[in-house]
């Protein structure tokens, strides 16, 4: 099949994506640093690093440690705050023909809402992703993302303030991902993205101490992929809203696996660190897969494995 006749466009909450590939928040900045390796115009979307109302310092170092087929991180959502972000990062991103999804973080409901309000009528932003699942900040983050009632409440609060479609980013550190996806949907979420990192720990036996200054960190990379695929499958069967899938994607084949499990789009995270051109290779590889397998429209295979 001629690749030019293949449709890779997907639609999430009324927003059209030229292809289903984006970065996972926190692994790509706002795309600026990757300009030599990734043409942002080719991406389905750029998902920014989480932004709060004020600058956040993040955690002490070491913040990073390698683990088998993955890594632990405890960055702690270091960010410059919404003022610098809107001027510098959104100013930069407005030059490109791609969707912009801003990841929003806060220590309290009020802080999330401050960011949401600031961005609500900003034309440079297509969607907001609400980070209620970061395991590395003490207040906010995961506290909202592990209790279905809290999740529904903050989702509803965000929806009341936002004119933009809302993606709730879900934590895998829960008993039932289906219940969490349902809570987000009940709160009015337009989509859910999953999975954020799994909480983990590594100990340096020679120093008799933790490998990360924060003691625990979020596990990402191919090590978590089967967990992520399972959760995307469960979430997509539990709700009617679209699911954006992520967790250890390294190749087009991995991306297709998530799509067949029920993801309308996918995000690449840790693998951007391994290969700065990874997302471009994955976009090309998805096109090749569809072509070789005579699939005219990627939408045909979303959730095709029941």
């Amino acid at each position: 099949m001629n690749p030019e006749n293949i449709n890779t466009t997907v639609n999430i909450a009324g927003v059209s994506f030229k292809n289903p590939v984006m970065n996972a928040s926190g692994t790509f900045g706002s795309g600026m640093e990757y300009y030599e390796f990734v043409d942002l115009n080719r991406l389905g979307a750029v998902v920014t690093k989480g932004v709060a109302p004020e600058p956040w310092e993040g955690n002490p170092v070491p913040r990073i440690t390698e683990t088998p087929s993955g890594m632990l991180n405890a960055i702690g959502l270091q960010n410059p705050g919404i003022d610098v972000f809107t001027e510098r990062d959104l100013g930069f991103l407005s030059e490109f023909n791609t969707n912009v999804i801003v990841n929003v973080c806060g220590h309290s409901e009020d802080e999330y809402l401050q960011v949401v309000e600031r961005l609500s009528d900003d034309d440079r932003v297509n969607m907001l992703e609400i980070n209620v699942s970061c395991p590395n900040v003490k207040k906010g983050g995961i506290a909202f993302g592990t209790d279905p009632k809290e999740l529904q409440k903050i989702t509803a609060a965000v929806k009341r303030k936002s004119l933009k479609p809302i993606i709730m980013k879900l934590s895998p550190n829960v008993t039932s991902i289906a219940d969490m996806a349902k809570a987000a949907e009940a709160g009015g979420a337009d989509a859910v993205s999953l999975i954020n990192t799994l909480t983990g720990m590594k100990i340096d036996i020679y120093k008799r101490s933790f490998s990360l200054a924060n003691k625990t960190g979020g596990l990402s990379g191919p090590a978590i992929r089967p967990v992520a695929v399972r959760m995307v499958y469960e979430a997509s069967h539990a709700v009617g809203i679209p699911v954006i899938g992520m967790g250890g994607i390294t190749s087009a084949e991995d991306a297709i696996e998530f799509i067949m499990a029920g993801a309308s789009a996918v995000a690449v995270g840790m693998y951007n660190f391994h290969d700065p051109s990874a997302m471009i290779k994955i976009i090309d590889g998805i096109g090749d897969f569809l072509s070789e397998n005579h699939i005219a429209d990627i939408n045909e295979i979303i959730g095709c494995v029941k």
């Binding site: 993040g58 390698e66 610098v84």
Partner: protein, 264 residues
């Protein structure tokens, strides 16, 4: 920045756990003293690249040389690789040593503690190429002991004056490079340093007490080397330009910092 599969053309052991690997690499052209590269592993399960400083970049030959201590999986794998083997290399990365700061200085000190010495060799050559005489530059190189082996000292001697220290006193001053600096009563006008954190703290204090500039090269665990993961932070005295929170990225604003601008 260049991302390439680079082929090893020479590999050798220099001292106990210390190895030298020369790559055919396009990174030689843009590389600046004090910059580093991120080297991938061949393992499917070790996915992060390892930051390793550039010891030499030869633009004419198109080669870069890495000198490193083989301590973990990645550096051991690299040390065991043979000529002809290839590795994924990303670079050159970071902000290196400012050469301008040394102009008109009479006593320039290059302080290299242990495996901190390699990036100073490229700096020594670059400073000489700016026209600074050999007598104006002294490398103070610290090693563990004669038994574990000295490395690069002869190559430094071809470019600059060299004085040595060892932890056990088996060669040169017993103690650190800062001890050697004080023992010789050298009166530096500027210090460039790379080495373990306690040594860099001592250099920072020495420079502050002597009212001279010092530029120090730092290291930290990092995932990307691109400036996005925000893993490799150092606390800064002032607001940083990226996150505006007194944190600088060692991979981007560093690895070389003006000592008075960082909090160690």
């Amino acid at each position: 920045m260049i991302n390439e599969k680079a082929r090893i053309i020479k590999s050798e052991r220099l001292a106990d756990q210390v190895f030298s690997t020369v790559f055919d690499s396009r990174i030689a052209e843009p590389a600046y003293p004090g910059q580093f590269v991120m080297v991938g592993t061949k393992s499917d399960s070790r996915l992060l690249r390892r930051p390793i400083s550039i010891c030499e970049a030869d633009r004419e030959k198109g080669t870069i040389r890495l000198v490193y201590r083989a301590v973990g999986y990645g550096t051991k794998e690299l040390s065991e690789a043979k000529s002809g083997d290839s590795f994924d290399i990303l670079g050159p990365i970071g902000t290196g040593f400012p050469l301008d700061a040394a102009q008109d200085k009479k006593q320039i000190i290059l302080a290299g503690g242990g495996i901190g010495a390699p990036p100073l060799l490229q700096l020594a050559r670059a400073l000489r190429r700016t026209g600074i005489g050999k007598d104006s530059i002294t490398a103070v190189l610290g090693y563990r002991s004669m038994k574990s082996g000295l490395f690069l000292n002869e190559e430094f001697s071809a470019e600059v004056n060299v004085i040595l220290s060892t932890d056990d006193g088996s060669v040169g001053t017993r103690g650190t490079v800062v001890d050697a600096l004080k023992e010789r009563d050298l009166k530096p006008d500027i210090i460039y340093a790379c080495g373990p954190l306690p040594m860099l703290k001592a250099v920072k204090d020495f420079a502050a007490d002597s009212f001279i500039p010092a530029f120090i090269s730092l290291e930290e665990r990092m995932a990307c080397g691109m400036g996005v993961c925000l893993g490799c932070m150092v606390k800064t005295a002032g607001r940083d330009s990226h996150s505006h929170v007194n944190n600088a990225r060692i991979c981007t604003e560093g690895p070389v910092f003006n000592a008075e601008e960082v909090v160690l």
